[in-house]
Every structure is written in structure tokens, then in C-alpha cells.
């Protein structure tokens, strides 16, 4: 969406149209974000490296806060489930990392929620292609 396309719209419609652009961009980036979280957390589980775990936790925390703001509530719900697993390890240095199966299940729920995410309908606004 460019400003030229929204310049003749009512302010509220222009806002919704621009919001739709951001939502499509975010949706296009979700698979990469989820893959990055899966890579980091998987690696951290193998090496028991808390800094990688912390970085995966930071990305998940962002995902849990941002996804529902764009309307992707199922992604946020799955992210919060995984976040709970990861937080225990960060909050308590003596806590054990979760088992691989437990992590895989939580990651799979996140992947599934991401794969099923669809752009929210915006019947009043123009059809907008995702940004490249």
C-alpha cells in the first residue's frame, strides 16, 4: 500500500488499509520467525546453551505480544505455551531443560498455528498484495 492509494480515502479507511498492509507483511514473515525460534530452541536444547535459549525466549515473547495485535491469536496462544516451557529454565538456573519430545510438541503447535493463519478479511478496504 502506498500513500497515493490511500490519499483519497476517509481517514479511518486509510488507516485500516495501511494496517492491512502491515498485517500482510507480518503474515509473510511469520514462517521465518517460527523457523528461527525452532532452530534456536532446538540448538539450545542440544547444547544446553542458555544464551541461545534466552534469544529464542526473546523472539517468542515478541511473537506472543505482536501476533495478536495483528489478529493472529492462535499463533500467540501457541507461542505462550512454548514461552512457559522456556521461562522456567531462565527463571531458575537449577531448572532442567524440557525434554526434546515436550519441546517438539510445543513447536509443532506453533508451526501448525502459523500454517493455519490467514489474513483477516477487510471487506471495506482494497485488495492488497503482500509486500515482497
Amino acid at each position: 500500500m502506498t500513500e497515493e492509494l490511500t490519499s483519497d480515502m476517509a481517514p479511518e479507511d486509510a488507516f485500516l488499509a495501511q494496517l492491512d498492509v502491515l498485517r500482510h507483511r507480518y503474515l509473510a514473515r511469520l514462517p521465518g520467525l517460527v523457523a528461527r525460534i525452532a532452530d534456536l530452541s532446538g540448538l539450545a536444547l542440544e547444547t544446553k546453551e542458555r544464551e541461545q535459549w534466552r534469544e529464542a525466549h526473546r523472539l517468542l515473547h515478541s511473537l506472543a505480544g505482536t501476533a495478536p495485535t495483528y489478529g493472529f491469536t492462535a499463533v500467540a496462544q501457541a507461542a505462550r505455551g512454548l514461552l512457559a516451557l522456556m521461562t522456567v529454565v531462565l527463571d531458575d538456573p537449577s531448572a532442567s531443560f524440557p525434554g526434546p519430545k515436550e519441546l517438539d510438541q510445543a513447536l509443532e503447535r506453533l508451526r501448525q498455528a502459523e500454517a493455519e493463519s490467514e489474513p483477516l478479511p477487510n471487506p471495506e478496504g482494497p485488495i492488497i498484495a503482500p509486500a515482497p
Partner: protein, 137 residues
């Protein structure tokens, strides 16, 4: 109660996806002039040059968290009086002390409805109280 209008907002938020939606909402729905930065380490310089009426501040950031950044601002005479609103995904139960920090007007919880952000912020701004003992404006 102060009648100073809210015009200029400094947004400090490391998540660029959420930063984009907040900036869009503040500019298009609120008509505010907005400056953004993603790193707490950039925020002090930007706050000095931009001169915001209000700082909208993320709590969890990788280089320095929001409360620590706010503490640094309170040590700077040029920035000490600028009120702040925190953005946080944590609940009131997790961080009950957040609003009690000097100059903090309120918290806005993530996630939020982008269409409700500006009305919420205007309510917060309208409800702030002048207090000579605090750094609020």
C-alpha cells in the same frame, strides 16, 4: 490538571513489527508527530533532540530494559520531566511496581487493539495530574 496538548511522542520499542503498528496508529489516528527508535541506547540522544511531550516505552528490550532506561532519563535534567507510558506484555501481577516509577502515567498492555491505542493514550494524557513532587509536566 494540565491543559498541555499531546503532540510529540517518542516511541522506544525494539520489536519493529509492533513499532510499525503503533507508529501508524499514533500518526494516522492521533495526528501526533512520532519519533521511533529500537534500541534503548539510542533513546537518550533522540529524546534530547526530538523533545517529546511523552515517551512510550517498551519494558523488555535487549540492550537495556524500559525501567532502567527511564531511570537514566530521570538523571538527565533535560529529560527528567517527560512523562512516560509503558508498553508491556506482562500482567499487573507480574510488575505491580511499574506504574509507581516516577513520572510513569500508566501501562498499556500488549496485545492491544490498534484502533483503541490513541483513545487510550488520550484518556491517560487527560487524566494526568500535576504533582510538584514528581517529574510529571
Amino acid at each position: 490538571m494540565s491543559a498541555d496538548p499531546l503532540r510529540r511522542i517518542l516511541l522506544v520499542e525494539d520489536d519493529l513489527d509492533i513499532q510499525a503498528v503503533i507508529q501508524l496508529s499514533l500518526e494516522m489516528n492521533g495526528g501526533f508527530t512520532v519519533a521511533t527508535c529500537a534500541r534503548a541506547s539510542q533513546a537518550l540522544d533522540l529524546a534530547r533532540s526530538f523533545g517529546p511531550d511523552l515517551i512510550l516505552l517498551d519494558v523488555m528490550m535487549p540492550d537495556l530494559n524500559g525501567p532502567a532506561l527511564l531511570g537514566a532519563m530521570r538523571q538527565d535534567p533535560d529529560l527528567a520531566g517527560i512523562p512516560a507510558v509503558f508498553l508491556t506484555a506482562k500482567s499487573l501481577d507480574e510488575d505491580p511496581w511499574l506504574e509507581r516509577l516516577p513520572g510513569v502515567l500508566a501501562r498499556i498492555s500488549k496485545p492491544f487493539d490498534p484502533q483503541e491505542l490513541v483513545p487510550a493514550l488520550l484518556r491517560i494524557w487527560a487524566g494526568r495530574v500535576r504533582d510538584p513532587g514528581s517529574p510529571r509536566p
